[in-house]
Amino acid sequence: MYCKVKLLLSVVFVFWASFGFAHEMTPAYPKFVTSYIDDVSVTKMKLFNRRDDVSYYEVQVFDNDWESVPFASTNRIFKLGYQKSTSFEVYIQTKDLKYAVYICTMSKNFKQDKKVTIVASRICSKID
């Protein structure tokens, strides 16, 4: 009986895990450290693309009122294939660091020619 339940649960899990499209980012609470550039701090983030309908993501940094905070990254918009992950660094001037609260990645969608709703996903980590 236990084995049957276990098997059923694993089938359900596999079904769940393979159905739908997800967007994930770590860490949830990034910490900034001093970078090799004077007065600039840096943190490293990792993004997972499990959305097969999305291949571009945009990096964003916001303050507590969701206003943009100046930052630099290797690419603000980058291409990331389905089931791929990438690491990226976010550089913020140390003087702006006290305003920065969220680091987010947002999916970029292509224009579509259907009568549909496009889904844009955004994951935001909170700066520690």
Binding site: W16, F19, G20, F21, A22, H23, E24, M25, T26, P27, A28, Y29, K46, F48, R50, R51, D53, Y102, N109, K111, Q112, D113, K114, K115, V116, T117, I118, V119, A120, S121, R122, I123, C124, S125, K126
Partner: protein
Amino acid sequence: MLKKLAVISSLILTTPAFAVNSPINGQVQAKCSIWTETQGVYGNPLPNKLDTLPDSGGSFSSFRVDIAQANFYKTSFTHPISFSSSPTLSDTVVWSGSTVVGQVSVTEMSAYETAKVISPSNVTTFDMTLAGSTWFTVSSTALYGYNKSLPAGSYVAQIVAECIAK
């Protein structure tokens, strides 16, 4: 006797120490994942109306949010208030929509529905206080002008689903 002891102790002292590197491995996993289960589709039940309601020939957008750690995230859904692409419209469009909690993996998660915060009017935020999976359904309606038909063509609107660390 002393000679024997000296030999034994020198043997012990010269025995090589075997050090084994035993790393502790760990991986940081995402604590909040947004899964798009169904992309919404607009039905066109009236000449001036686009609606995701199944009765109107449309389908709702459905999302699953997986929370690995309780109380670390908020989830918000923004239903559209404009088209991201459409034919040229000469009149105003009145938008409405909602986000409701659907299935839940933990019974107590049904309380998310009563605790949801709608602010501004097209953004619904849920405080994810429990670990597990929650399904959300987002609906959207666009009503065009007064007794006017929507111009023929394709209409696309965007829903934003967010996971925000608290």
